[in-house]
């Protein structure tokens, strides 16, 4: 894989499309074990990301992620706003100065994002939050020598299944305790859509 400004922007635009399409679905996930705003939050945030990227010219990938981070931070709110903001900010910081982002750099940056999330959210893996999905994505890129779009999705699908079976102990879902078993974590689902967007752009991009 290889990320450049063009396909990174495409990735984020695709992620926005997915948030709009899945707005109601994400909100539905957040109703039984949360407060039913996650789809609304993410759709609002990524809409703003798309507009921001549309009107700006970037010279490197790090800058793109920085704007994504700042926009999500200031437009999403709730728990997920500062968390996604932090994750993308960490990607931006780690990738600073890199012209083209290869799998190794991206994996390292994702590790930073996971650490940032854990710190911000005071959460560990296994607490049924977006940390689990980000961590599984990071693992995929660091553990596999040759990452592929299909491989990414396969591992993301597996993570989704695992997370669904967990008991939430952080965030609003933690109030529902064992009742969260069998319900999907909304933040993990939206993270899934973000990386599904990556896989799609990647697959269609000969240079990536």
């Amino acid at each position: 894989m290889q990320l450049n400004v063009t396909n990174t922007v495409q990735w984020m635009q695709k992620a926005n499309e997915k948030m709009q399409t899945n707005k109601d679905y994400l909100t539905t996930l957040d109703q039984p074990i949360g407060d039913g705003d996650h789809g609304i939050n993410m759709a609002r945030g990524f809409q703003e990301v798309a507009s921001k990227l549309e009107e700006t010219t970037y010279t490197n990938v790090s800058e793109v992620f920085k704007d994504v981070a700042m926009t999500l931070m200031s437009k999403v709110g709730g728990a997920s706003g500062p968390l996604f903001g932090t994750a993308f900010l960490k990607l931006s910081m780690k990738l600073k100065g890199e012209e083209l982002v290869d799998q190794t750099s991206f994996g390292a940056a994702l590790n930073e994002a996971v650490n940032g999330l854990k710190q911000r959210g005071k959460a560990e893996e296994g607490e049924k939050t977006m940390v689990d999905m980000w961590a599984s994505i990071a693992h995929y890129f660091t553990d596999n020598e040759h990452s592929t779009p299909a491989g990414l999705m396969e591992s993301a699908d597996a993570a989704l299944e695992k997370i669904k079976a967990m008991t939430a102990t952080k965030g609003r879902a933690a109030y529902f305790k064992e009742k969260t078993i069998g319900h999907q974590d909304p933040g993990s689902a939206s993270t899934y859509f973000i990386f599904e967007a990556l896989a799609e752009v990647w697959k269609g991009d000969s240079k990536a």
Binding site: Q31, D35, D37, N41, K75, G77, Y175
Partner: protein, 331 residues
Amino acid sequence: MKKIINNPNEVVQDMVQGLVAAYPSKLKVIPETLVIARKDAPVEGKVGLVSGGGSGHEPAHAGYIGKGMLDCAVAGEVFTSPTPDQVFEGIKAADGGKGVFLVIKNYTGDVLNFEMAAELAEAEGIQVEKVIVNDDVAVEDSSFTTGRRGIAGTVLVHKIAGAMAESGASLQEVKRVADKVVANVRSMGMALTSGTVPAAGKPSFQLEDNEMEIGIGIHGEPGIERKHIASADEIATELVERIFTDIDIPKGQEVVVMINGLGATPEMELFILNKKVQNLLKDKGIEVFQTFVGEYMTSLEMAGCSVTLLKVDDELKSLLQAPSEAPAFRN
């Protein structure tokens, strides 16, 4: 969904404008934000008090802005914490040079966004302190989890910390009394029906026609038990007993009582509940210093209520009785 609104995605903007239009001599909106402030903010030489959170809890939080209470309230989207940049705007607008105090309800989103705003403010040289309100005894207070939620008790934190700030006290003094309130305040709620987030368009949850839920949160978070609807006296007893299980209130202790309506419950029912609450406290030998009955911290049009008890000493009593000019809290 039946609501008196325009665009469901613009309810917060519309509300903020309608609110400031209602009290133009008392409130102002910080341009291009959803931050509402005292008309005369920042008040020089006074600790600034900032609260906020998701919208849908009206009169919380902007209704508590005024001399003797808050300087600023930051309005997030419905049931969604405001973002750090917005909270930061609130902090700047409240900063009269003596530091800014944040009242945060204990929800992951609120804590994260307010803490990031505090970091931004400190980076600009504004001194910030905070209290995290967690009065809801429906949730276990465990260090492994998110901990108890902040609900109606928050209003008493606004009042008491606000009076302290108004008296010219230091940031540390304001923090001290706010911490004292949080240590001594407990609440417990129940719901008969759910509210509907405008942008979601359907009720957050469903209760059957004969069901109620005990221990519900103000965003529709679940409670301890869903069960057959009980009488007002039984509900009062359950809510009060739950509070007494969580906190020790000795005989002879003076308390403040708040009977809070969650949105759709008529005041008549709150008074009916209050009758039993007062009798239960009397039976326990608890002295009631003051009672508040009304809608203080709502959850859109949820039907239901919460009971809050605050153990008061002389300091808290006198701060509670200090004047307030906030539209939603006059005494």
